[in-house]
């Protein structure tokens, strides 16, 4: 499907999310333009991960809607949303630790190339052809993210920096239109952070829209086109990195002075 003239790939419309009596998000609205890198920042507990979970279908919002490529998706389950073209990574790495590096990325292709239960069980020629396709595509992605040499290693044997990169690779394998990255630099050192930010730029250069949550302000200011700031589930500011850095409310609630 092609949405020529669709300016916004994602719209978050007046989303409310309540857990028990606690409001994790209240009346949150913002838009993500196709092809940009948009960052969501805010203190812990501001609702950033909750927002990601709602966008990617872990649970539906209490109220409000999420419009992706012009269609509401807030009621869909996670795998349906993945099929529509939203992919994600997790704050604490969620790799499949019972698989190799290659298999992790191969699974990422699941949204695009799949074989049916019967076809795989009977190992029909069609299933074999698809399996070869999947493998080829996964290797290509591993080369792109620079982990091709480690394709046979168990995923959990990689150092954290590479695990985070691999998770991004796995998310890329489904050819998403929008990729949501939950703290891609958390726990990484300067060098690893640099690798991760370059990768995010490279992904964006391929035309994939990026939505990311991050604490590392250097990463945020360097790579994002627009920033949304959350505090206690509410949007307190939105704008370019420069605007945000000089926004009085943001300084007071999040960045601190000096």
């Amino acid at each position: 499907m092609n949405f020529i003239g669709e300016d916004n790939i994602l719209e978050v419309n007046r989303v409310n999310m309540a857990f028990g009596g606690l409001m994790a998000l209240s009346h949150l609205s913002f838009k993500v333009k196709r092809g940009m890198i948009k960052a969501v920042i805010g203190p812990n507990g501001a609702g950033k991960t909750t927002l990601f979970n709602i966008i990617t279908g872990s649970f539906p919002p209490t109220e409000g809607s999420i419009i992706f490529k012009g269609m509401p998706v807030e009621h869909l389950k996670a795998h349906k949303i993945a099929h529509r073209g939203i992919s994600r990574t997790f704050q604490t790495v969620e790799l499949f630790d019972n698989m190799t590096v290659l298999e992790n990325v191969m699974l990422g292709c699941h949204t695009r190339i799949r074989t049916s239960f019967l076809a795989s069980g009977l190992r029909l020629p069609m299933a074999r052809k698809k399996e070869a396709q999947i493998r080829e595509k996964a290797m290509k992605i591993l080369k792109f993210i620079g982990l091709a040499e480690k394709f046979k290693d168990p995923a959990d044997s990689l150092p954290l920096g590479e695990q985070k990169i691999l998770e991004i690779g796995r998310a890329l394998a489904g050819d998403p239109d929008l990729i949501c990255l939950d703290e891609p630099a958390a726990g990484l050192n300067e060098t690893e952070t640099y690798v991760a930010s370059s990768l995010i730029r490279a992904i964006n250069a391929k035309g994939i829209t990026v939505l990311l949550v991050e604490h590392d302000m250097k990463v945020i200011m360097n790579i994002s086109d627009e920033i949304v700031v959350l505090n206690y589930g509410q949007k307190i500011a939105e704008g370019s990195p420069d605007q945000i850095q000089n926004n009085a409310r943001v300084i007071e609630a999040y960045l601190g002075s000096g």
Binding site: L22, G42, P43, L160, A186, E192, Y254
Partner: protein, 237 residues
């Protein structure tokens, strides 16, 4: 106060620490910086008894504590604030704080415990307003404060902090480092493990750099801040 000599540790035959030797003098803040996976957390776990040691000695007040279980080491005056805010998520904030003084409860010092809780609330006023809340519902920054508060309840002479700034908003990080400085001024010795090298070096007196399980550099924190190699690798140039 704490002297570690030739420490070796391994997970499933993969060596994580190789002949690590460090010293933590009484009343000082010592920090260990290094990349992820360098073995920083393992080192702290080895000291606090959560991790089995292959070889080497850990002398605390001239007494070897290698092989002691974690719950006994706490009794000697070493408290650890574990990585990733491991509070008791299902219990209330006050229960969490009380459990920090578990060993004192066993000795039945009720009055002293009330006093200490009071003192904790002075340091972290936000915890007093949340004392009835289930700890798992606190924000990340509040959970980190709670984890520190819980460790302080045991009246440690040596406080081990594992990545206190990880995943926390910059504003709260500053607050937490202020608390560390304040604790040190009131006499607590601190051993700090941090990814955030700049903050760690600012607050510390002395520092070690850990790379792939080995100490590759050490020195006064101020000197390391100006060291070109440290600058390049850990402070981002």
């Amino acid at each position: 106060m704490l002297v570690i000599k030739g420490l070796n540790a391994a997970y499933d035959n993969i060596r994580v620490l190789k002949d690590v030797s460090i010293k933590v003098p009484k009343g000082k803040v010592v920090s260990i910086i290094g990349a992820n996976g360098a073995g920083k957390s393992t080192l702290l776990k080895a000291i606090s008894g959560l991790m089995q040691i292959k070889k080497g000695s850990i002398l605390y007040k001239e007494k070897d504590i290698v092989g002691m279980t974690a719950n006994r080491i706490v009794g000697l005056g070493i408290s650890q604030v574990p990585e990733g805010r491991q509070i008791f998520a299902h219990l209330s904030v006050l229960d969490n704080i009380h459990l920090g003084a578990y060993l004192y409860f066993k000795r039945n010092n009720r009055l002293e415990i009330t006093e200490r809780v009071h003192r904790i609330y002075e340091i972290f006023p936000i915890l007093e307003t949340r004392s009835k809340q289930i700890a798992g519902t606190l924000s990340g920054g509040e959970q980190q404060m709670l984890a520190i508060a819980r460790a302080l309840m045991a009246r440690p002479e040596l406080l081990l902090l594992d990545e206190p700034s990880m995943g926390i908003a910059p504003l709260v990080v500053r607050e937490i480092f202020n608390v560390i400085e304040m604790l040190n001024e009131s006499g607590t010795t601190v051993l700090l493990v941090e990814q955030n090298a700049r903050a760690a070096l600012k607050v510390a007196d002395y520092s070690y750099v850990l790379e792939s399980g080995e100490i590759v550099m050490e020195g006064l924190a101020g000197e390391l801040l100006d060291n070109p190699k440290v600058k390049e690798v850990y402070l981002g140039g």
